[in-house]
């Protein structure tokens, strides 16, 4: 599976890649300085328009991409310090080309949708400024030709995530969710930075001073395997933070506090896949370390199953989708970890389509239900919101791996590799397959409970339920079409110059069991939530099950108490220690010594009291005298 590296492929220098990043940035500047003056109508056109222009340039780059080669745009020299020389340089190859198409394409649709979704929000200018800034940073992340520039985008998207989660800042809980996201991500970033430092100096020890991906790829083989493993694991800490894997996933469910289009763009389609992108970008390092790959695969598989179990019982429509995202990201890492980089990236793309669709669909539901997010109070929306329902159903089928929809191709490819690749194992496959069954179940539970059956909302809310305007439903339809046909974009073929051709041969059982379990999950959801009325205490199979296994139900409902554990084990001890350091160590011990010394001198020396006049001139005089005495001692 090893393949000749990028250093040998055709690289073409162009100077228009910068515009892909610049247009959204222009949108930010416009929103900041002119947005308040021109107001909502203009901003509604400018912000999506800038992303559309970026899309056009991205498309041009994608089309111009030389077969198996890359386009490079060197903009200007950035940080030059000794042997460290980092340029602002952008690079489009099949991997980043795919990513910019997804980011600008899906991003544009979500910008358009936002126009409708945020129509009643007074702060729409600030919203679009953040959203444009996010697009800029995300594009920089994937276009960066070196690790440090990637890190700039990496931190930039983290910032936008922070700002957008806490967009409705007057709600303390939402502001806290933003802060939590930023801090958990910073823990990952610490790993990222350490990995970067280790890589830089380790290569430097061999006379290779670079942070540029293509040069690292060309020289990676000089590094000893243990160093490579350590570097890969450190970068994986960063990836686990950004892409919400165990143990750093806790911020993503809370991140649902942000506006729903933000959840779709940042916390489903693009930003959270940055960790996958990082590893896919650095595949040449990971391929050198079996240990690192194994860790990635295991963490991915376990997260996929773990998050899926939590999603089974959640009752907030966005929380279900959030845990589903954590789980799906786990699948992508599983793919990377078994060396199936192309399959992992393939799933990034299909997931971007159907998960953006699902989130936007959820947003449409929330919009139509007067901000209600609890699925127990929904039901029967099928007839009232037909477009939302239809597209949402397509999304559910796609994520559940229903044959010939997009998720079917990418997820099955990952699972086939998990079984058949040299890095794979039947156990990893089994975990992934179980997760696939659970995924189908919780997604159709969500679909049935939300759209089927009787309406359970308050009469007041029920009267106002309405389908969303076209500016919101058209993006839904486009994404639904992409979710239907996305599996036929032969991404693994396109990425083969980077990752080679991968064709695992597995038995029919291995190949089709995930699909069968998925169909079974749909059937079970139908049995429990359509044939029995949902959420009526004392009735229905779901309610019986949850009472029968109430311990397990509570455990899942409370998300395994991980947040509580972190709070008790990390947050509170840290605050207590800080408080002690300040009040005891700083104030009593150090200052006590300082003041004590002064007091001792004062108390013991009646002679010294002569100088304690409180008059600065006297101090200065005595100080000079002392200096002269000592000077005299040394000089003569």
């Amino acid at each position: 599976m090893e393949h000749p590296h990028a250093a040998e492929v055709a690289v073409q220098t162009v100077s228009y890649l910068r515009y892909i990043v610049l247009f959204p940035l222009l949108g930010v500047v416009f929103n900041l300085f002119l947005g308040p003056r021109y107001g909502r109508q203009v901003v509604n056109w400018v912000s999506p328009g800038m992303v559309f222009l970026a899309f056009c340039f991205a498309f041009a780059a994608f089309v111009q991409l030389p077969d198996g080669g890359a386009l490079v745009d060197s903009v200007y020299p950035w940080i030059y310090s000794g042997t460290l020389q980092v340029d602002i340089a952008l690079r489009v190859d099949p991997l980043s080309g795919t990513m910019i198409m997804v980011i600008t394409g899906v991003g544009f649709l979500i910008h358009v949708y936002s126009v409708g979704y945020m129509a009643h929000d007074e702060d729409v200018v600030r919203y679009f400024a953040y959203l444009n800034l996010f697009t800029t940073a995300m594009l920089l992340l994937v276009l960066g030709d070196n690790i440090l520039l990637l890190f700039v985008g990496w931190e930039g998207v983290g910032l936008c995530s922070y700002l957008l989660i806490g967009f409705w800042y007057t709600d303390d809980e939402k502001a806290s969710a933003g802060k939590k996201a930023f801090i958990v991500n910073r823990i990952g970033d610490a790993g990222f930075l350490l990995g970067l430092f280790l890589l830089f100096w380790s290569l430097g020890a061999h006379g290779v001073w670079t942070l540029s991906f293509s040069e690292i790829a060309a020289h990676a083989s000089v590094l000893p395997v243990t160093t490579v493993t350590l570097i890969c694991l450190l970068f994986f800490v960063g990836a686990a933070g950004k892409s919400a894997q165990i143990p750093l996933y806790v911020w993503l469910p809370d991140a649902m506090a942000g506006p729903t289009p933000v959840s779709a763009l940042i916390h489903a389609a693009t930003m959270v896949t940055a960790g996958i992108y990082l590893i896919a970008r650095m595949h040449f390092l990971y391929s050198l370390s079996h240990t690192a790959l194994a860790v990635v695969a295991v963490v991915g598989a376990v997260t996929a199953l773990f998050a899926a179990t939590i999603a089974l019982v959640q009752t907030d429509i966005k929380k279900v989708l959030a845990y589903s995202t954590v789980s799906q990201l786990g699948y992508m890492f599983l793919g990377l970890g078994v060396g199936a980089y192309a399959a992992g990236v393939f799933h990034v793309m299909t997931h971007a389509f159907f998960k953006a669709l699902l989130f936007l669909g959820a947003g449409s539901v929330i919009h139509g239900m007067s901000e209600e997010q609890d699925i127990r109070k929904m039901g029967g929306l099928k007839s009232k919101m037909p477009t939302t329902y239809g597209t949402f159903a397509v999304g559910c089928l796609a994520i559940a791996g229903f044959p010939f929809l997009s998720g079917f191709f990418s997820k099955d490819l990952i699972l086939e590799h998990a079984f058949g690749s040299p890095h794979g194992s039947p156990l990893l496959w089994l975990i992934g397959t179980l997760g696939a069954g659970l995924t189908a179940f919780y997604m159709f539970r969500l679909l049935f409970v939300t759209f089927w059956g009787e309406n359970r909302s308050d009469p007041e809310v029920a009267r106002h339920i309405h389908e969303s305007p076209q500016v919101m439903t058209v993006p839904l339809v486009v994404l639904a079409i992409l979710s239907l046909i996305g599996g036929y974009f032969t991404l693994p073929e396109l990425l083969s110059p980077l990752y080679g051709h991968e064709h695992p041969h597995v038995s029919l059982l291995v190949k089709y069991l995930p699909t069968l379990l998925g169909l079974g999950g749909i059937g079970l959801a139908y049995r429990l939530y359509v044939q029995d009325p949902p959420f009526v205490p004392g009735r229905g199979g779901a309610d019986r099950l949850s009472r029968q296994f109430s311990g397990l139900h509570q455990l899942l409902l409370n998300k395994y108490y991980v947040d509580e554990l972190y709070e008790a084990a990390i947050v509170r001890p840290l605050l207590a220690a800080s408080d002690w350091l300040w009040k005891v160590w700083d104030t009593v011990v150090i200052d006590g010594l300082v003041n004590g010394t002064a007091q001792v001198i004062q108390a013991n020396g009646s002679v010294l009291r002569f100088w304690q006049t409180g008059n600065v001139q006297t101090y200065a005089l005595s100080f000079c005298c002392g200096a002269i005495v000592i000077l005299g001692y040394y000089l003569w």
Binding site: Y76, P77, W78, I79, Y80, S81, G82, T83, L84, L148, F151, V152, E155, G156, L159, Y162, G166, Y169, T170, D171, D172, A175, S176, K179, F182, I183, R186, I187, D189, A190, L193, L194, F197, L198, F200, W201, L574, L575, A577, S578, D579, L581, W582, D586, I590, D591, V594, A598, V616, Y619, A620, F623, G626, A627, I630, L631, Y634, L635
Partner: protein, 528 residues
Amino acid sequence: MVSLIVFIPLLTAFFLLALNKNAVELVRRTAFGASLLTFFISLGLFTGFDSETAAFQFVERYAWISEFGIEYYVGVDGISLFLVLLTTFLSPLVILSTWSSVEHRVREYLFFFLILETGMIGTFVAVDVFLFYVFWEVMLIPMYFLIGVWGGERRIYAALKFLLYTMVGSLLMLVAILYLAYLHNTQHGTLTFDLLRLYTLEIPVSAQMWLFAAFALSFAIKVPLFPFHTWLPDAHVEAPTGGSVILAGVLLKMGTYGFLRFALPLFPDAAHAAVPLIMALSVVGIVYGALVALVQPDMKKLVAYSSVSHLGFVMLGLFAFNIQGIEGALYQMLGHGLSTGALFLLVGVIYERRHTRLISEYGGLWKQLPLFASVFLITMLSSIGLPGLNGFVGEFLILLGTFQANTLVGAIAVSGVVLGAVYMLRLYQRVVFGPLTQPENAKLTDLSRRELAIFVPLIALMLLMGLYPKPFLSRMEKSVEATLARIHQTADNKSVESVESIGSVESLGRLSLDPTDPKDPIDLKGAS
């Protein structure tokens, strides 16, 4: 040009005394105009700077007290250039802030402030060590009065603590300086305080230890290095806004500048021996400062402790003894000057309106003060080292350098980056986000035009330094390389190099770029 920059503020200070003390507006405009003029002149240093040499440039040199070999000898190199600019840049902004923050004894306030500016610039440009010491002491007195007269409730305690702490240190430094001159007299028969000639002294390792300790203590207090930091929170809390800005923005850099200019290159053997101790104290300071900042109820104290943490990074970079570490440290000195200066100004803005610095008194300010909140946001991001802003470049280079020098220390220091985000984000959330609960806050007014005029240049520079650091780094490079070469001239290295002296032009070649006055050619023991 350098002398002009040094003395315009001083002359203006005395000119102010000639003005009617009740003509407050005139006094203010005069002081502001003078500091602005100083800034524009100092820009000439930047544009005229030759980044191809490590030599001191714009040199002015006159005999002063010739009996003792003391000269008026000033100039700038890549190390002092930006610190001078930082000082001349921040000073007019601070004076602009006094329009609302200082109401009584305005003339006297500005008088002391301008003297302080002269002291600070002089300290950075002095090449004669005695002259350096004079300026160093000149700085103390006006700062003492700024805190003691215009400060808060416990201003006398804070001012005395500040003065005594720093004097204890500087006294020992004076002794060490005199000893150096004496040593030069013994070795070369001339009494001189010329730093470049003192660099060439052969100091026995045992003496280096004592001399280094004397310098290091003085500088460590100024930095402040843990555990010599307890004067800082008190001084900051009690100082008026302008005092805090200058204290954090410039005065703290005196300590780190002192290490880089004097303690490290003068006593390389001792410096090498001190690395483990200083690195340990720095990294403790990074984590300690961040943790203590986390629980502060008072905004100014929080920022003060954050300075302890940030300056810990600077110290680590200096003691990494490699290009990235030292350039990063220099960059972070500038970056911290901007971001922390701006933070104190921001605290000042709301303090003037509400007369409290307690974090719990605020909350939900975004709704009421959107401009303030936006400026605060960018400043906070610069402080926590977000890429694209100034803080990142310095922090990144420091950590990169430190990681090479000592992996473990580098790894612990990286955790400081996480903690930095924790306390700043907590502060920001509690002040700016959330519901606006206090009715008094609902009456606050947003930034005025004058206040905007203070913050816009600060933010522009934060962005410039983050996006395009090359003009800054390239001007530092040669001087940093030369200093590094001196730091690596330890007793062990010298014996090695004297053996290969003919071949090893690399490090010595850089030294020979140094300007030394013609009558005293370079006298490197290893080379001659």
